[in-house]
Structures are given as structure tokens and as C-alpha cells.
């Protein structure tokens, strides 16, 4: 009798530990899940397979602090001819005909309050690789944030590349 109680207690204890770890796993998984986009746009296809340069679509990334989401017009400039039969493209065409911009879901978000200035232009001018911060987009069918985008992430890279680390460079 005692024996069974002890055994079940021991088992319960270890089982609990395992469950807890698994729960951690689920928390992590949900927390890092990629948002569902209105159109199942695949970077793997465009950036990976077709080998389009990032700047081809995000064309202000090297001109402005803001990388820029491609205009619907830009999407249509190819897709009026290409893959018009695919349902996802037809969604796009619908947006275009309704003269509505596509409400993309924001993937990369700095969670802290907005006192940070980040210029895509400067980083590209400095020869930074898009995928260093945004992950291996060429392989992503669904984009998700892979980097924490926390200050440590920025500063480690800044220090590694001898970029300025004065607070005012980013904060203001």
C-alpha cells in the first residue's frame, strides 16, 4: 500500500515536471507563431526561388528609414500576367480592382514603447544583410519574427561591426 502511494507520488512528481516543460514549449510556440496574412504571399517563392532582390519590392529600404511595403500596383505589374489563375493571386486582383490596399499583418514589432529610431537606409548603406535581422526569408513561406529585436540584438551587432553605440544614435 505505502509502496503504491510512494510510486504514484514519484511518478506524479516527474510527470508534473515533464508537463511543465511541455507547457513552456507551447508558450514558446504560440508566442513565435507567424501571423496569418490576408494573402498567402510566399517569400520562399519570390525571394528564394525567383531570386528577386529584396529591394525590388521593398524599394524604399535603401532610400528611406522605412523599408516600404510594395504598392499593390507593383504586385500587379507582374501578376496581371503571371499566375493569374491561382486563387491567392485572384485575391490580390480583387484588392486591386476594389482599389483597396492589402491589409498586411505586421510581423516585426518592437515591443517596447516607441522611443527608438531605426533607419533601414543607413543599415543597407552600411552593407547589412536583410536576413541577418529578418531571418532566412528565402526559405520562409510564412514570415515570422526570428530575432528578439531587443536592444541586446541591436547592440551586439553594432559592437561587432564597430557601429556607433551612443544612445542617441537610436534613442530619442
Amino acid at each position: 500500500m505505502i509502496k503504491r502511494i510512494v510510486d504514484s507520488a514519484v511518478f506524479g512528481y516527474f510527470a508534473l515536471m515533464m508537463v511543465l516543460i511541455l507547457l513552456l514549449g507551447f508558450r514558446w510556440h504560440t508566442h513565435r507563431k507567424a501571423p496569418v496574412q490576408p494573402i498567402a504571399f510566399s517569400h520562399a517563392t519570390h525571394a528564394g526561388k525567383l531570386n528577386l532582390q529584396c529591394l525590388f519590392c521593398h524599394d524604399t529600404a535603401d532610400k528611406s528609414y522605412y523599408a516600404g511595403v510594395p504598392s499593390v500596383q507593383k504586385c500587379m505589374s507582374c501578376h496581371q500576367a503571371v499566375k493569374t489563375e491561382m486563387p491567392e493571386i485572384q485575391k490580390l486582383t480583387k484588392y486591386w480592382n476594389d482599389k483597396e490596399p492589402v491589409p498586411w499583418e505586421r510581423v516585426h514589432r518592437i515591443r517596447i514603447r516607441n522611443h527608438v529610431y531605426f533607419s533601414h537606409k543607413r543599415h543597407i548603406a552600411a552593407g547589412a544583410d536583410c536576413e541577418h535581422c529578418h531571418g532566412a526569408l528565402r526559405a520562409m513561406t510564412q514570415v515570422r519574427q526570428v530575432k528578439s529585436m531587443k536592444m541586446g540584438f541591436c547592440v551586439s551587432c553594432h559592437e561587432a561591426n564597430h557601429a556607433p553605440t551612443d544612445c542617441l544614435i537610436c534613442h530619442m
Binding site: 528609414y65 522605412y66 500596383q73 505586421r106 529610431y117 551612443d166 544612445c167 542617441l168 534613442h171 530619442m172
Partner: protein, 939 residues
């Protein structure tokens, strides 16, 4: 591409970038792209500029709007503009908050059965108006001062629709001045003043750096003769105490209404002059003689003062004398104006220091007589529809309420305005006006100069530009072809007046120069009998209703920003007050914040007292917009009375004023540069070094490339607060309101400190911002390293780090740090559109302060890096320096030997505030020449 369409797209884009950009709404989940990318190479996140015109006051300076994400976020003077040369006054800076004001009328309104104004459609409102205009009786159009195309269109409107166009209504109509100029110079204009060409400037009452003429132009020109070289001498004669007076080298306080005596006396001194125009000589002869002793007792000036004036005027090679404002807005005003004009003519200022060729055209503006005539007609009931076009007589006229009653007598009143003013509330239909930044049009600041007005943003609400309102009325009445737009009208007019293809040039440059009006100059023969000797000047207690540098004639008092920004003289922000001299206070046994009752005949108004050093005994000053007693108007000149006899009685009540100055005096702290014993022992060795050796626990800062620093020339500073307003707009500084001000929680990053001599003889105005000290006392006390000194000399504040201990604020000897007691991040629509995306919104519990416009430094660095160079002199300047009408602030790299700031910092007048504390500030002050004064002008 059609510009409207372009702006429409930008409008959409603005929504887009607003959501998408890393600017305002970090919390947003959506990322909205453009549908079609805008043309003209507009990049999201990059600023574009649109040249247009300021219309906050009749001066109509050239203005450029900085557009970010499709919305104007900052306005500044148009560089190289012939009138204001890149500067913009406090009102102009604040005019942006009129565009984004929450009080704007958002759609047409009509009176319902209950007599309340209710929202309506344009079609409905226009139809009602048109029916009323067709009703048959005589229709009248009363508008504020209009220039350029709008004025022309208004004439067309009047002729084609048979509406009688009344003389325009301006409270500051310059009636007396114009009358005098008509008589003496044969020109019904307000000439532009050229202090830069004058070696002696005498201003009688005219508040030339506040509202009179074009204050911005006067300030910019004056600053050319301020500072170190070629200084001229400026006498200001006034009955009250005005900012202009304290800026002058010599401020002579005269008894109210006695200006005429002084001028007559000065004129006699000139009568000996040879080569006077015939007519003028005759006129001079007709001036009743005034003896020196008479002049003294009438004006209350000392012999030496009068002689100094007289002497200065005699020996001056090219003097500038001008009378106006409160001095002409009284019974003897016309005489004062005529005497001034005679002196101008006698000294040959015409064409030299007075520019009649490039003058402000007030010919269409009427006088009080016109207003009274109109009221008569209204009361007689002969008027059918009355169109009140962008004017607010009810609030501004001394007999405002009567005028309001008269409006009701009109069969139908059509109001056109951007806000629901007292006048509009009495109208049957209110047509909402677009802001200038949403409109097409042009403005004529001075004859021969035409500013373009072009939209910087698609209309926020269902409003129309002033021209389009007129046109749509005309279309409704069948007086114009359907579909005609004001934009086209303006284009055509430009092409006609300025030549083909002028339109494009206008839009690019922002202004064009057309044929200037023929200047007057022939002495009018019209005789005039001077009556100032007979007319009884108000004696005993006198109320002076002075123009306000913030509110002009009161029209700008609706802008919260201009309530938040303090009055330069009294530092009062949100309240109405009456300024009372120190002697008077003693005599009446009143003090700060006690309420007095001002009584005139038929009116009385209770106001809170603000002691004002330098104000003569028994003189009470109220600013336009603070109170509007029914004081009547001067029959002779036709201007609303500004100087009237009253009786003031203390009520015993007390009410705290919301004011932001700790004290009006230095209390012996030697804050004003040049007044501290340690700075100057006899001669000033200057160079900003403290007298004692520098000792510091902290290592000397090292600045490899830049040491951003600022220099302020107090000799050029006119204390107008433009820098403050500019800073508010540029840096998203929250407007916290009266309650917080009463708690001393104002948020201004730069403030204008006013310190008066105990005897009120002089006032010093010191713009102070964070001094970015080398050894900043705020830095070592921060427990979280949120504030620190970066290697470019900036005293940085890292908002994310700040936990709000406020130690830094306590430790700052300059009291320049501001704490967010509440969250002001989220502004109500459309105010939120005014947010400058380059500057992050501070949150509740964070310290903030002047950053020396670090966002602009960053932008400049961005550009410089693209060009593979370092930041050069002239790449950037701060918002305050850019706005300054006196060109009194320079910003730059102190390490650059050739930079302006380096030169100024090493000027012999250079000082730093409280430098004896060893803080080694990065802001240098060039002491005011006339502060150490007592005649030591020039350097």
C-alpha cells in the same frame, strides 16, 4: 498629374504611412501599403516642402510647410522671401494648430427651427444662402481684409451677384495713419519700415515688433543693425508698457494722449530744415506752437529725454519715425498720425526708411465709421442677406454686442469661417472654410509681392477654400459657370499679372513679384486743423487696450498653442489679466492675483492683476483678446479707442493667474548675461570663461568631431516667443492646459525668461533652453543613467531608461527639465495629425527637455553620410533658430572654427548663464548692448 489627385493619393498614403511607418502607432497590427505609389519621388518617411503663405494675420508672410506622410507637421518662414526672409512669428508658427484645431467647423451648418446651428450638406446650405440672396432686398458682403486673387474674386462676386461689398473690417485698420499718409503723401497705404537703413529709429506707440505693419520684416531688418556692428539707436515712446518698448534702446513713457504734443514739439525743431516740400511747410505752419516746458508737463518726460529725442532727430542722417497703434487709436490719434507724417516728410524719410512703393495695401479696409454706417442700415432693416466672410466683428468691435444685435436685424445672415466664433453663432447659415494649408489661392503681403497659396494636405473635413466658397455661391446663383474652381481662377490671374508660365514658378518659389503700385509722395494740399490742444486727453486712471503679440486683435486667442505659450511681458499663459504698474499697486493696495473691477461709462469688467514693472502710475493695460470693453471709437481717426479713462476699484477677491515665471526680477542672481558682477568687472573680458579656475571631479569631455552648441544674441532677440511656439510644434511638446500651469507643470523646452530692473527702467528677455552643459549637474544624479553626455556635446535624455525619479530636474540650475505627470501621447483627432513623426512622444513618468533638435542632427548626418562627408555648417539648424525673426539664435558645431556659433561664442559680449557654477554650458549668450546701456551702444 493633377495636384489634387496627387494630394488625394497622399491622403490615402498618409493613412498608409501613419499605420505602416514606425512613427506614431507602434501598437498597430496592420501594415497598409500604397495602392499606387505617389509620384514626385515622395518617399514614405521623407519630408517634402510646400511653399505657401501664412494668413494668421494680415501681414501674410511667406511660409513653407514641411510635409511628412502627407500631412504638414511644421511651418516656417519661406527662405529668402522679400518680406519675412525665412522667419515666422509666434502667430505664424502656431497657425498650424489652427489647421488641426479640434474646434474647427467640420461641415456646413444651418439654423434649425429652434435657432440652433445643426450640421447640413453643402447643397442644402448653398441653396438656403442662394434663396436668401435672391430674396430681393439689398445684400451686403462684409469681409476681413483680403488681398490678391481673393479680393479680385470678391469684387467679381459683388458685381455679378449684385451684392454690395462693404469696406473690409479690420480692427487694426490703420485708419488714422492712412488718413495722414493720404493727406501728406497721397498714398492710402501702410508703408513698410526700413530700420536697417535708419541710424535713428523713433517709434511712437507703434508696436513694430509685435503687430504693427509687418513685425517680422521689421525684426529681420532691425537685426541687421543689431549685434556688434553698425548699431542704430532706437527710441520708443509709449503711454503703457509693451514688449516693443522694452526692446528699444530708450523707452520713453509719456502720459496717455500726449504723443501729439511731443511730436508737435519735435516738428517745430525741424521747421528750420531747408528744402521742405511746399505743401508740407504750409502744414507745419498750421501746427499750434508747443513750448518745451508745455511739452514736458503734458508728456511727463524730462527735459533731457525730450532734448535727446530732438537732438537725435536733428542730427540723424536717415531717421525713421513712425506713430501708430495705441498712439493713433484715440481722439488725438489723427493729429498724432499727421504730425508723424509731417516729420517723416520733413526729414525726407519717404523712399529711404519708409517704403511706399512696397507697402501694405489697406485701401479696401474701412474705418469704424463704415462699421457704424453698416450697423445703421442693418438696424433700419434695409439689408436682406448679410454675408460675414471670415471676419469676427462681434468679438472684436468695441460695440460688438450691438453689432451682434444688428446682425439679427438682417433678413438672413450667411457666415463663412473656420471656427464657430460669436459672429458665426448669430448666422443662419455657416459655410466652413478650409485652412490655408488646404487651399489654393494667393496673398499680397505688400504691393508687388504675391505669395502663392497651395494645398499641403487634402481638406481634413467637408470644407472649402475661401475662393471656392465664393465660387460655389456664384455657381448656385448662376453667376459663374458650373465647375469653375478657384485654383483655375488663381492660375489664370497669375498668368495675367505675372506673365505666362508664372504659375509653375510661383508654386516652386512660393512667391512672385509683380508690378509695384506707384508710390505716392506728392504732398497733399488738404489742410487740417490740429485739435489735440483742445481735445481732452484722458486723465486720472487710464485703460490702455494694447494689441497682443500672441493674439493680434484677439483672433488668434482661439488657438490653444497661443494660450499655452506665455505672454512675453507678463509670462501669463491661459488667463485674462490686467497689467498694473507697481506704484498703482501700492497706491490701491492691490498685488499679484487680486481682482480689480475696471469701470468705464456703460461697462465694467473684473480682471486679475498682474504687476507690470515699467508701467506708469494709474495706467492699466489689457490685451486685445483678453477683454473687450465697449470703449467706443475715435471719431477723428476712425480707429477703435485703445486709450480711455476708467475708474479701477479693488474687489478684495483673489484669483491665481496661470503664469510660468518664478519671479519678474533677477533677485540678485545675475542671470541675465552681462549683469553678473563676475562676468564684468568694469570692462567685459568676455570669452565665456568663468573668472575662477575650472575645477571638476569629472573628466573633461572629449568631442572628436562635433560639439553642438548654440549662441543667442540678446541684442537681436526681440522677446517675441516665436522660438517657443516653434519648439512646441517641432518637438511634439504637449499642451497641458491651465490647471497644470497653475501647478507649475508647463512643458516648454525653451522659455523666454523676463527679468525687469527693480525700477522698471529696463526689461531683459532671455530665451533659455537646456544648456547642454559639459559638466551637466543632471547627469551624475540619474540613478538609471537615463541622462548622459554624448560625444557630440549633447546632454542626452533616453526616454526608455527614464524611471521618473526627477532627481535631474531638481539638480538642474537652469530648471530646464520637464516631467510628464500625465500621458499626453494620444491627442484627439485631428490634433494627432500634427505630431511630428521624427520626434517620439514621451510617455507618462518621463523626463524630457531640449534635445537641440537631435532629430534634425540625425537627418543632417544621414544626408552627410550619403555624401561621404561630415556635417557642415548650414546643413541644419534648430527649430528655434529657424523661426527667430530677429535672427538672434545660431546653432552649429563649436569645433568648427568657421562656424557662426564659434564666432559668436568668442565674441567680446559672449557669456554663459550661471557659468560660475562650473557647469560650462553649451549655450552662449551675447549680452544686450543696451542692457549695460546708459548710452554704451555699439561695440
Amino acid at each position: 498629374m493633377d495636384r489634387r489627385e496627387f494630394l488625394g493619393l497622399l491622403g490615402l498614403a498618409s493613412g498608409a504611412s501613419l499605420l505602416a511607418g514606425c512613427d506614431l502607432t507602434r501598437k498597430t497590427e496592420k501594415l497598409i501599403p500604397y495602392l499606387v505609389p505617389p509620384e514626385d519621388g515622395v518617399l514614405p518617411g521623407e519630408a517634402t516642402f510646400v511653399a505657401t503663405s501664412c494668413t494668421e494675420c494680415p501681414a501674410q508672410c511667406g511660409m513653407t510647410a514641411r510635409i511628412r506622410d502627407g500631412r504638414p507637421v511644421k511651418v516656417d518662414g519661406l527662405p529668402k522671401h522679400p518680406i519675412n526672409d525665412g522667419a515666422l512669428c509666434v502667430r505664424g508658427q502656431s497657425s498650424l494648430s489652427r489647421l488641426y484645431s479640434v474646434d474647427r467647423i467640420r461641415q456646413p451648418m444651418v439654423k434649425d427651427a429652434g435657432g440652433n446651428l445643426v450640421p447640413a450638406t453643402w447643397a442644402d446650405a448653398l441653396k438656403r444662402s442662394a434663396d436668401a440672396l435672391r430674396a430681393g432686398r439689398e445684400n451686403v458682403l462684409l469681409s476681413g481684409r483680403t488681398t490678391g486673387s481673393l479680393s479680385a474674386l470678391m469684387s467679381d462676386f459683388a458685381t455679378r451677384t449684385g451684392v454690395r461689398r462693404e469696406p473690409e473690417f479690420e480692427l487694426f485698420s490703420y485708419a488714422a495713419v492712412r488718413a495722414a499718409n493720404r493727406a501728406i503723401f497721397g498714398a492710402d497705404v501702410v508703408p513698410l519700415l526700413h530700420p536697417d537703413r535708419a541710424d535713428v529709429v523713433i517709434t511712437v506707440g507703434a508696436d513694430v515688433v509685435e503687430t504693427f505693419g509687418n513685425p517680422v520684416q521689421f525684426s529681420t531688418l532691425l537685426s541687421k543693425r543689431r549685434g556688434s556692428h553698425g548699431r542704430n539707436t532706437w527710441f520708443h515712446v509709449e503711454p503703457h508698457a509693451s514688449m516693443t518698448g522694452f526692446q528699444a534702446d530708450h523707452r520713453f513713457v509719456v502720459r496717455p494722449g500726449s504723443e501729439a504734443y511731443l511730436l508737435a514739439y519735435l516738428l517745430q525743431g525741424l521747421s528750420g530744415k531747408v528744402g521742405l516740400p511746399g505743401g508740407v511747410a504750409a502744414q507745419i505752419a498750421s501746427v499750434p506752437a508747443v513750448s518745451a516746458q508745455q511739452a514736458e508737463e503734458k508728456t511727463g518726460l524730462t527735459t533731457s529725454q525730450i532734448d535727446e529725442l530732438r537732438h537725435a532727430l536733428l542730427v540723424a542722417e536717415s531717421p525713421l519715425l513712425v506713430a501708430g497703434s495705441v498712439s493713433t487709436a484715440q481722439e488725438s490719434g489723427l493729429d498724432t498720425a499727421r504730425l508723424a507724417a509731417l516729420i517723416q516728410s520733413a526729414c525726407g524719410m519717404h523712399g529711404k526708411t519708409l517704403d511706399f512703393a512696397q507697402a501694405q495695401d489697406y485701401s479696401r479696409v474701412g474705418t469704424m465709421a463704415d462699421v457704424e454706417r453698416l450697423m445703421g442700415q442693418l438696424d433700419a432693416g434695409t439689408v436682406g442677406a448679410l454675408i460675414l466672410f471670415d471676419t469676427d466683428p462681434v468679438a472684436q468691435l468695441p460695440m460688438g454686442d450691438k453689432f451682434g444685435a444688428s446682425i439679427d436685424k438682417a433678413a438672413f445672415a450667411i457666415g463663412v469661417s473656420d471656427m464657430l466664433t460669436p459672429t458665426m453663432e448669430r448666422c443662419d447659415v455657416v459655410l466652413p472654410l478650409s485652412h490655408t494649408l488646404e487651399s489654393w489661392g494667393d496673398a499680397e503681403p505688400a504691393s508687388g509681392v504675391v505669395n502663392a497659396i497651395q494645398p499641403a494636405i487634402a481638406p481634413l473635413f467637408d470644407t472649402r477654400s475661401n475662393g471656392d466658397v465664393l465660387l460655389s455661391l456664384m455657381i448656385e446663383l448662376g453667376a459663374a459657370a458650373a465647375g469653375t474652381t478657384y485654383q483655375q481662377y488663381v492660375y489664370d490671374r497669375w498668368t495675367r499679372d505675372l506673365g505666362a508660365g508664372a504659375g509653375a514658378a510661383m508654386l516652386k518659389q512660393g512667391w512672385g513679384t509683380g508690378p509695384a503700385k506707384a508710390a505716392g509722395g506728392s504732398a497733399g494740399a488738404a489742410g487740417h486743423t490740429f485739435t489735440f490742444a483742445q481735445s481732452t486727453a484722458p486723465s486720472g486712471q487710464v485703460l490702455v487696450i494694447a494689441p497682443s503679440v500672441r493674439w493680434y486683435d484677439g483672433r488668434s486667442a482661439v488657438l490653444p498653442l497661443l494660450q499655452e505659450v506665455p505672454d512675453p511681458l507678463s509670462a501669463v499663459t491661459w488667463d485674462s489679466w490686467v497689467s498694473v504698474g507697481m506704484e498703482t499697486c501700492k497706491a490701491m493696495g492691490i498685488e499679484e492675483s487680486s481682482v480689480v473691477e475696471l469701470r468705464g461709462e456703460g461697462w465694467s469688467v473684473p480682471l486679475t492683476v498682474r504687476p507690470q514693472p515699467g508701467l506708469a502710475k494709474d495706467v492699466f493695460v489689457v490685451q486685445r483678446g483678453a477683454a473687450n470693453p465697449a470703449v467706443g471709437w475715435a471719431r477723428s481717426g476712425g480707429e477703435a479707442n485703445a486709450v480711455v479713462a476708467i475708474t479701477a476699484a479693488a474687489t478684495g477677491r483673489k484669483e491665481r493667474l496661470s503664469e510660468v515665471s518664478g519671479s519678474l526680477y533677477q533677485e540678485g542672481r545675475g542671470i541675465v548675461p552681462g549683469t553678473h558682477p563676475e562676468h564684468f568687472n568694469g570692462d567685459h573680458s568676455g570669452h565665456g570663461e568663468p573668472k575662477h579656475e575650472e575645477v571638476s571631479f569629472y573628466p573633461l569631455p572629449k568631442y572628436p568631431n562635433y560639439r553642438w552648441a548654440m549662441a543667442v544674441d540678446l541684442d537681436k532677440c526681440i522677446g517675441c516667443n516665436a522660438c517657443v511656439a516653434a519648439c512646441y510644434v517641432e518637438n511634439n511638446i504637449p499642451m497641458v492646459g491651465r490647471e497644470q500651469h497653475l501647478r507649475g507643470r508647463e512643458m516648454a523646452w525653451i522659455r523666454l525668461e523676463q527679468y525687469y530692473e527693480k525700477d522698471g527702467s529696463a526689461g531683459h528677455f532671455v530665451p533659455t533652453m537646456c544648456q547642454h552643459c559639459d559638466f551637466a549637474p543632471c547627469e551624475p544624479v540619474c540613478p538609471v543613467y537615463a541622462t548622459y553626455h554624448n560625444d557630440e556635446g549633447l546632454n542626452a535624455q533616453v526616454y526608455n531608461r527614464c524611471v521618473g525619479t526627477r532627481y535631474c530636474g531638481n539638480n538642474c540650475p537652469y530648471k530646464q527639465r520637464r516631467f510628464n505627470y500625465f500621458s499626453y501621447e494620444h491627442r484627439p483627432y485631428p490634433m494627432n495629425l500634427m505630431t511630428n513623426p521624427d520626434v517620439s512622444m514621451r510617455g507618462k513618468g518621463m523626463m524630457e527637455k531640449c534635445t537641440m533638435c537631435v532629430q534634425r542632427i540625425r537627418k543632417a548626418r544621414d544626408v552627410a553620410k550619403d555624401e561621404k562627408r561630415t556635417i557642415r555648417e548650414g546643413d541644419l539648424t534648430t527649430a528655434c533658430a529657424q523661426a527667430c525673426p530677429g535672427k538672434a539664435i545660431v546653432f552649429g558645431n563649436l569645433l568648427d572654427e568657421n562656424s557662426e556659433v564659434h564666432k559668436w561664442a568668442h565674441d567680446s559680449r559672449s557669456n554663459r548663464i550661471l557659468e560660475e557654477l562650473g557647469t560650462s554650458p553649451g549655450v552662449y549668450y551675447l549680452s544686450d548692448n543696451h542692457v549695460k546701456g546708459n548710452g554704451s551702444h555699439g561695440a
